[in-house]
Amino acid sequence: MIFSGDINAASLARDGRREFYGMAALCLPSFILVFILLILPIGWLFWMSLFNADGAFSAENYVRLFDSTYTSTLVTTFQVGFLVTVISVVLGYPLAYMLSQLPPRLAGLCTIFVVLPFWTSTLVRTYAWMLLLQRKGIINSALISLGLIADPIRMVNNMTGTVIGMVHIMLPFLVLPLYGVMKSISPDYVRAAANLGAGPTRAFWTIFLPQSLPGLTAGMLLVFVLCLGFYVTPALLGGGRVIMWSMMIDSSIRLYANWGAASALGVALLVMTFCVLWLVNRLFGLKRLYGESR
């Protein structure tokens, strides 16, 4: 009995191993794809950042990041990221709150307005803002024909245009997870507060808002981190006046063929991105944010 049990155990273990290797092999095609086309090239970039123009091992590329040309780009990037995040919160919080308070059917209908732009090409949406904001654009001509302004306002090829365009693109990234969190807040708490004599305003500030804060924080960090790496919208709506980090990386390569500088900038961007995402994950769990919020 014991003997045959051993045989069983051995063959089971062998089958288990075979099963494991078989399953691991199924992962292989996609894994190779990600490894060769993402991890390997990024690792190469990282490696390159450690060498100076003469091919000697040095921290030169990183020291140069503290030059004024680079730091001013850094400041612009953070400014844009900060502005876009704040405006997204100001617009996104009430929208998510409204969606969470609407009857489910109506909320579903309204969510389409958030999801559709979310999936529409960034390029198309940026182009739309170019049409709306340019000198002879739709907003300026409307304001002039209404007599509100005499001369067109400059809204494109500068910070204003960049921020407006980016807020439009980032808003769904804040609203969708926030809405998911708000939906899970039981209305019973607010009712209980009202029962105990709190007015609607007080119930909102003391009961609802604190419970929605984790979603808000996660959404804000996410929007901020996505802003740091943004390229298309500032390149088209900034008109060369808003130089963001990603554009600096781009011009280091295209204009100056300076791979050392570009790779150091890239590594810094990557490290910062991962730090913020790690923070989001710790606070909230990325999986809950995007994987299972529906």
Partner: protein, 264 residues
Amino acid sequence: MELRCDRLWLYLLGGAILVFLAAPSVVVAVTSFSDSQFLTFPPETWSLRWYHAYADSIEWRAATFTSLKVAFLTTLIATPAGTAAAYSLRMLGTRFSGAVQAIYTMPMVVPVILIGISLFFMFARIGLNTTVTGVVLAHSMLAVPFVVITVGSGLANYDFAQETAARSLGAYRLKAFLTITLPQIRVPVITGALFAFLTSFDEVIVAIFISGGDSETLPRRMFTALREQIDPTIAAISTCLIIITGGILLAVQAFGFSGKRSRS
């Protein structure tokens, strides 16, 4: 919960923000039917002039065809690769899925500009820049996570006892998967395929760096054109893109699955 009048301000504010989100697409679509060189809203005279310009331009047609080809090939690669990965992640259980999932989230969280320059650098060494193959491979890598996530969430609700039953009755694993499991998870698989298509079809930044010449995709050509001047033809092209995106989302919705993209 019913609508309450004392919350009118909230609905007005929320409605205004929804208009802010939807208006740009509507404006592009309406102005694309304008007859004049300088797009006005609403158009003074209506015409299909810019749609004709789009259809008549050899360059725009070529870019559109390239984009469709690239997106189609990307879907063909990313869908089976992603489905296989989702299946094996489910079978392997939680022991490994944490680490492996981290790898599949990477294409979604690494700044796209970095993916663009690092691929440009690597492809320059192996001669894949400005080739369709290079763009298809890069887009497949970007699209795989969407397939893994959508199919993975489909498999999470699937009862594997059915596949085990088929295998205990003598079906080989592949046959059991193809005849029993796949038909039941077809909705998430098709959804994942549609997202893969859309991911490739809309992708700009990587294409800016690694496509060009014969492999120039539509978004890359649009980006280059927009940097120089605002060509009204782009309004017509944009409208077509909005319609394609809307159509795919409707198809996804019709299949009863709502997914989310986390990158732009």
